[in-house]
Subunit: 428 residues, 2 copies
């Protein structure tokens, strides 16, 4: 008698950004999740498996980009690729063709000293409006040799530069001296290898763009208005993280599954596009209101029709914690909890966790593990019946990395093969 | 509203060497820690987070050098560097300049057979006095080519040889055949690569030193006295672990923190110096008496004024276990326990664990995990209220490596950044 091969199930993972927390004084030492009334999440825990998710290394905090990327299948070995222009380009909707290079940029406040640029502020006073107009003013600039600069604003002071043409190389240095090194001023872009003629030419193109962009931006009406309001002008650009088109390895793709990502955040959106997922990002997804949650949940249910795996990303928990507002975090968790019953479906493996812990007392990302739950038909059970930091460590999932949490979900979707070795690239 | 950056806290880690144990018959199956009355450690566990520390790999025992080095931030990838002369040299206060090489040595009992040296005892009857006089007799010996031998006694039968001059290489073989291979006799020092002329010359220098040191030591009054007392003479030297000046990577240094180490043991002292920590090692630190404990605790409190992180190392637990004396181990734990209340401070993250388990029934290091506790303001809590092998595995820290135990401490000191990738060199 041979074993039967069960048909594959679909999967839905809900990522509550910065879900984990530490004890909060105003909650009598409970965390926001512990203080929240979450009857529906508790029911998932009661009927499913819970555990504690530590993103990459025990007690090492991670940023949202790394944390969500791992939950969505990024190979841990490819984490270093994330710190590159092509990720920012994907998030900003700037398409890279073979041979193009992309660089991450900051709008900054610069001052010419006759020889070079001094940096008055690496983030142009943390500018958060008017950057689209500024970006449009330098987008499409024609540089020497027929190379064209594409330029898009991203979130806050961030932006992305694409150089399109022939004979380009990503083996060039950053013009951004980095946080804490503002006093060094803008660094000239140079080839990493002085003998690399292609990189030498690319560096010269970046330097031309930086110089000409300053002239355009410094005279732009948006900056005139900023100066008249006493704000620092966003009259220059810092560049870093040059990279060419790339595809970080992703376990979901490795398995040949189709995936959809639902998010309102640019960085996470860019990750999804880089992974080749369908990305649904609507203007109404940006807030922490009930209507936003409902819209995302509806989009997720629709996406499950066509996709094997759907990821839904909520930012409200993390925003509240960074704002040192544990009550808002608790309330957001309760709002999400209310939608859980509509998602329970025997044919769908339902998982919920966070990408990292954000301490709402200090506003810091910390290395504490994050509660996670998986509801899947046929799974083992455990004795846990409350979704909280203090309870889930006794659950059947135990303590596991974000990648292993995804693996546990995929295993219950019946889409994993027996170990072949390539899994090692993905799990660390 | 943006999040505030909480100010960094200081940290104090107490390392009880060989703290963990196995059930002891005379304690009715309890371990020495379980048999000890530790009201103050229990109070730390009640108010903080506990867990089980498995030094590097589950169930793989470690030596004190590796165990303490990992707790103090050594990159796991650099563990192999520790088995080298330069660590012993640092502990013995022999400074290495660029180009010098250092070798670990044993005082041994040798016998010339006309052609080579036979080894009667690899440790010269476990000699533990008179080695400083013997070392002084060969220290400063001028070898061929202007190379000078520096020589210092270390703990018990151990010593260190430094060769200073030009044209030296550490790519040479050991003259020590290793434990269990005494019958092979002393091995001639050879270059690892027969075609390496610099290593060939260095090997010849080591061979000259071994030959001439035997002549000096064999005729030394210390050995005349030993022979007259029926003891084996320390009339020769075995060499191993040649190495040049080096700096093992350390996570505490990577973070730019200042650290102080308080210890009475030469090996651990050497580690601290190699890491660039301030090391406080006084003659009164060597015993297991209450006065020694008090002196170390006072030194720790003083060091916290100037250092970000202070490590205090106690050897009494391990010595008692190696002596198959669980009662002495229990008593030493109780003595340390009494000082805990003076160390509790809201502005200091307090951690206590051991570098490994030493089984006081067999005297062996074993792979069992070691209880650990961290008391930090704002941390998560757990339900554990007793500091013991049988209880701490239910704690909030779970099961974690020594490096991760340090990370958890650093995370609560608010000094970690979000994951950048370099952490991988440190955590395995």
């Amino acid at each position: 008698m041979t074993s039967t091969s069960p048909s594959a199930l679909k999967g839905l993972m809900i990522i509550l950004d910065g879900l984990g927390d530490r004890p909060v004084e105003q909650f009598g030492g409970q965390t926001p999740l512990e203080a929240a009334a979450t009857p529906n999440l508790d029911d998932l825990v009661e009927r499913g498996m819970s555990g504690m998710v530590r993103p990459i290394r025990p007690w090492v905090p991670v940023g949202t980009q790394v944390g969500t990327a791992l939950l969505m299948g990024l190979a841990a070995a490819d984490i270093p690729l994330l710190n590159r222009g092509p990720v920012e380009a994907a998030g900003a909707g700037l398409k890279l063709r073979d041979g193009d290079i992309a660089l991450r940029c900051n709008f900054a406040t610069l001052r010419e000293n006759g020889v070079a640029f001094e940096i008055d502020d690496r983030r142009a006073g943390r500018i958060d409006s008017g950057t689209s107009e500024l970006a449009a003013a330098v987008d499409g600039m024609e540089l020497f040799g027929g190379v064209v600069a594409g330029f898009r604003a991203s979130t806050q002071h961030r932006a992305v530069l694409r150089l399109s043409g022939t004979g380009l190389s990503a083996d060039i240095t950053d013009t951004d001296p980095g946080s804490g090194n503002e006093a060094w001023g803008i660094q000239p872009c140079r080839p990493l290898d002085p003998g690399d003629a292609v990189a030498q030419r690319t560096a010269a193109l970046v330097n031309e763009f930086v110089q000409r962009a300053h002239e355009v931006l410094d005279a732009h009406p948006v900056n005139d208005a900023r100066r008249s309001r006493g704000q620092l002008p966003a009259n220059g650009l810092l560049t870093r993280g040059a990279g060419m088109v790339m595809t970080p390895r992703n376990f979901v793709n490795q398995l040949g599954l189709s995936a959809t990502l639902i998010t309102g955040e640019g960085t996470v959106d860019g990750l999804g596009r880089l992974f080749g997922f369908s990305v649904i990002n609507k203007p109404e997804f940006t807030g922490a209101q009930v209507t936003d949650i409902e819209a995302k949940i509806e989009a997720a249910q629709a996406a499950l029709e066509d996709s094997d795996l759907v990821f839904v990303h909520f930012k409200g928990t993390d925003v509240a914690a960074h704002d040192l507002n544990p009550a808002a975090k608790r309330d957001f968790i309760e709002k999400v909890d209310a939608f859980m019953p509509t998602l329970v479906d025997d044919d769908v493996v339902l998982a919920l966790t966070g990408d990292h812990t954000t301490d709402s007392t200090t506003g810091r990302h910390t290395g504490d593990a994050v509660p996670g739950v998986i509801l899947a038909s046929g799974s083992r059970l455990d004795q846990v019946s409350r979704f909280a930091e203090s309870t889930c460590r006794a659950g059947a999932l135990g303590s596991l990395t974000s990648t292993s949490f995804l693996m546990a979900m995929l295993d219950h979707m019946h889409v994993l093969h027996n170990y072949r070795g390539y899994e090692d690239e993905f799990i660390q």
